[in-house]
Symmetry: C3
Subunit: 307 residues, 3 copies
């Protein structure tokens, strides 16, 4: 992998490609600290967000600007784009790809990025497709683990919260399957458990995992705690949401049980599932993780546009 | 016409001006293929969209970026601008024109661009004013015809679909009236026919036109088929819309009737009125047409800002 | 004050700081007339607008572009940001500040900018926090008075309209308290009078003020008329709004009463409280005032980012 054609799902990355991306992201961090670069002064990135995500959009747009590039975009295309006039995604992409050099796309439907890539004349980066995948989030998550703990092989990772609708959990699980001696514990409310197809993929790859209701039990030994928000907007009903919310919280008492070298991650935004008084602890890495998103996305953009 | 003051309606362009614009757009196409230019690094274009139009906005913003310029803008000003606080369009334009060097404006009301031009201190480009005009779309449509067929004089152009509310049809008709031996066939559902004032203008200019319900009859001889979407959002009722929709479709059987040198255009987005299996035919020029929009808008921006 | 850490409220500026800002804004005016500068090609400003304000946002974004900088932003974050997912403002700012070099922020809640500054790693500029403050508007208002009349000491300023919810009136009153022999007349409908806490602040600072219902009486002697819009959206009910609206209007008969050297200001947008036929009078300075916003905001950005 010297260059990337499209970034659609995390299964497209093998261990060598991930290593290359981590190296590139580290270089981007240094570049950003020196005021960025002017590699892409004549390139245009289009942020095509059919579903709003201010944070993810800012991260990509900032990355493009730090590389000297230009940005056009839409905050929330679903409300007012050609979509409401009955246009297909394929037609939209055919036209938009003639106006830019790279499309970063969030969509409400699983598989939308793949459909876009099939007709686009420029690289497509999937910034989330419904409850499908969110590969660049998983890449920055994994980059953060590598950067903070120095390795991924041999780690015990606990994933907590909305494991059914949490696409970052799925994408991160797929990425982790590239590494040796990794162990994953899935901890979720009964109506938000990890899907069968994710478990099947891990089994095929020989990854050891468990599903357990007992966060306290794994707290003392695990290396990484990947907490997620119970996503109200994706649950079928408010009843189902209420059953799931508030069950697994990271707070100071739990923190006391964790190893000194443990790492607490969260794709953000959070809504109470990590208490604010945890923030000051050096193991709370979620804001550093967010910043790593900038460097990883700079690396992805550079791989897509070519150097 | 070396420079443009404002671009308000298509009637402001004569044949010489159109020729100049086509030449400039061709130069822009070459410029864009070489990575664009840095002519306007210190210029700011404002995309002032009171009505959303992702495609048209992207096209203009991309054009400005390809010329090295800067962009500020609003995706959908009507929902949250000063307009809801009771401000007149004139006041908005007086203020906004002091923040930028060029305003590209879409508005819901006929005549809005003209009103804006009357008070603006910078050039105004009309990107659509209600059911009024959309001159830059007509310019790129005509540029596409010229580029694909090598001439405009003597052509037989068929305009199909929503001819009442379709402002691109009106604007294109006005532009065509500059050429010799042009013939226009208007084909529309009964409740979406070409307005009297368009026909009167063509008569004054000595342009031959007909209104006919029979698409099949003209299919075998016409040079250009300009298909348009029945615009649900502009019809007075869903009943009226349903009467108009689906009546005239371009599909493979119709394509079989057309001349080998015919050209199929559409301002896009489409919603079923050209079947997707037509796309692969070389006569299907609508995606090339969309890309020509970029080059034409680069030319228009350059004429407005001066070189 | 060589540089600014944050711009939160107008009370943070003393007379010396204001003098420095006025000087800087004058320099920016000259710079802008020469096509701007390229001071901040590697800097990113984030327009974080939780409440829409097209005019203010354009003014800041144009200012950043005129200084060569880059912009990311959101037009109306409240409708679709992480906020609706339950994220705290503090978390949002922690993340966003890792993606940019400066945050310009409008929020619906009083005190939001202060809370943001407490956790941000980059400068925060308050572009309005609910019915709290709007310091950069007050700075450009005062800059306009200084520029047009050559002084602020000794002036008689009349503030008219929505003095309860009009945060620009509060912010401007605080700034005026830095000057000598200033006199303020507050003229408001009964249900929109100047708050007690503003009056107390002026008393502490020894500023002479009066509340009077009689605009005609002060018209003949005052130096500056600062008219404001009755802000329908901030009144508790339509009844209360109707009681307040339309009571104090600046029209040609009133203009006839004013001194030849008087100055009419308005933060805009207006909705009838200054008649359009007043616009042509040289005393009508509100559009020049809007343009001064560009220069003042260029000065503020430069002070925040450092030169």
């Amino acid at each position: 992998m010297s260059n990337l054609l499209h970034v659609i799902g995390s299964k497209q990355f093998d261990k060598a490609a991930l290593g290359e991306l981590f190296l590139a992201a580290k270089e981007m961090e240094q570049l950003a600290s020196q005021g960025g670069a002017n590699h892409f002064g004549d390139k245009i990135m289009c942020s095509l967000f059919f579903e709003a995500s201010t944070r993810t959009r800012f991260s990509f747009e900032s990355a493009m600007h730090r590389l000297g590039g230009r940005v056009i975009g839409t905050e929330n295309a679903s409300q007012f784009s050609s979509a409401i006039k009955g246009e297909t995604l394929e037609d939209t992409i055919r036209v938009v790809s003639s106006y830019c050099d790279l499309i970063v796309m969030r969509h409400t439907e699983v598989g939308a990025a793949q459909r876009a890539a099939a007709v686009s004349t420029v690289p497509i980066v999937n910034a989330g497709d419904g409850s499908g995948e969110h590969p660049t989030q998983a890449l920055l998550d994994l980059f953060t683990i590598q950067k903070e703990l120095g390795r991924i092989d041999g780690l015990h990772i606990v994933m907590i919260g909305d494991l059914t609708y949490g696409r970052t959990v799925h994408s991160l699980s797929y990425l982790l399957s590239n590494y040796q001696d990794v162990k994953i514990s899935f901890i979720a409310p009964d109506n938000a458990r990890i899907p069968v197809y994710v478990k099947q993929y891990l089994e095929e790859k020989g990854i050891v995992y468990e599903e357990t209701p007992d966060l306290l039990k794994v707290a003392q030994t695990a290396d990484v705690f990947y907490q997620t928000r119970i996503q109200k907007e994706r649950f079928p009903s408010i009843d189902e949401y209420n059953k799931a919310a508030g069950k697994y919280i990271i707070d100071l008492p739990l923190l006391d049980q964790m190893r000194k070298e443990a790492l607490i991650l969260h794709p953000l935004p959070r809504a109470g599932e990590i208490h604010a008084d945890v923030d000051a602890d050096p193991r709370a890495a979620y804001f550093r993780q967010a910043q790593n998103g900038l460097f990883m996305r700079m690396a992805i953009i550079e791989k897509c546009l070519g150097v």
